[in-house]
């Protein structure tokens, strides 16, 4: 069967689960994002192997850059925060109010992230995303977290680098038997 061309747009779900999870592991949704969600990858660094007698280099070596997902999380339960941003959460009790104590040092976690799209290809996965959140409130905006997820290579248990993964775009659903 030939693959169809599709324009992929409109994220409808963002979710995460542990790195290296098997297919049956459920993702945890993170839905309360401001409309500034972005996916970006910087151009690779270039190193020229210069030629003495010519204007063009003999060759160019490229060093690739990771993929970054950025968004602002503003609708969350305090209990949702520790897995992503560290710190501790204590529910309300008869004598004390609900409290989230933020991490006192920079806290980064690693998760497998998945974005699901409404139109086009079904979604995108970052197999191992270094997740970092900073507290943020812009002028007249909501108190939230500016989150940056940076892709790392998800290593396999084999020595073959071809088995390592960074990201995937998911297309048509499985056809079944």
């Amino acid at each position: 069967m030939t693959a169809t061309k599709k324009t992929t747009l409109k994220p409808i779900k963002l979710e995460y689960r542990a790195v290296g999870s098997i297919d049956s592991v459920e993702y945890t949704p993170v839905m309360g994002l401001l409309n500034d969600f972005a996916v970006a990858q910087d151009s690779p660094d270039e190193t020229n192997i210069d030629a003495q007698f010519y204007d063009s280099p003999f060759d160019i070596l490229y060093t690739g850059k990771p993929i970054k997902l950025t968004f602002t999380l503003v609708n969350y339960a305090l209990a949702d925060l520790p897995p992503l941003f560290g710190g501790t959460y204590t529910p309300a009790t008869a004598t004390a109010q609900e409290i989230y104590l933020g991490a006192t040092t920079a806290f980064a976690s690693e998760w497998e992230w998945k974005v699901t799209y409404q139109k086009g290809n079904a979604g995108m996965i970052l197999y191992r995303g270094k997740t970092l959140g900073v507290l943020k409130q812009e002028n007249k905006g909501a108190l939230g977290y500016g989150v940056t997820i940076t892709s790392l290579v998800a290593g396999s248990d084999t020595d073959d680098t071809a088995d390592d993964k960074m990201y995937a775009i998911l297309g048509d659903p499985k056809t079944g038997v």
Binding site: P11, I12, K13, L14, M31, G32, L33, L34, N35, D36, F37, F71, V74, N75, A142
Partner: protein, 142 residues
């Protein structure tokens, strides 16, 4: 997010029911009752709801609500356009106070942000009845 416009209109109308019984939604009715002619009336108009979420309706939205109060002029019979300043000022102060009180509350169904920048006034005539209009507005966050 509770985005039903009907509910938002009801919420805002409820704020002002203690101030006037004559509250109309969306626009001015063609026929005004005698109470509205003698004591004035209010019209509520609602702007579009803007959703600030990436994933639809998951974070918060905002809309602007316009409150217009029509104060009868001093001589409604001749529609001579003389402002009843006492009534007008009383209405303005009462409306502003209601909005201020609501904007200071925490965690209501809807959150009102008071701003006086867009307040204005206007003139309106219905048959032989003339009115001075106080217009104010506020942001509702849902």
């Amino acid at each position: 997010m509770q985005t039903s416009r009907k509910e938002i209109y009801s919420y805002v109308a409820t704020l002002f029911t203690g101030f006037t019984k004559n509250i109309y939604r969306i626009s001015i009715p063609e026929t005004l009752g005698s109470n509205a002619i003698s004591n004035g009336f209010m019209v509520l108009r609602m702007g579009d709801v803007n959703d600030f979420s990436e994933i639809s309706l998951e974070t918060y939205g905002q809309l602007r609500m316009y409150v217009e109060f029509y104060t009868p002029s001093t001589d409604t019979q001749t529609a001579n356009g003389i402002m009843d300043t006492q009534k007008f000022e009383a209405a303005q102060a009462a409306i502003d106070n209601i909005i201020k009180a609501e904007s200071e509350k925490q965690n209501q169904v809807y959150t009102i942000s008071r701003d006086s920048i867009l307040s204005s006034d206007d003139f309106f005539t219905n048959k032989t009845n003339s009115f001075f209009v106080y217009i104010t507005s506020f942001l509702i966050t849902i």
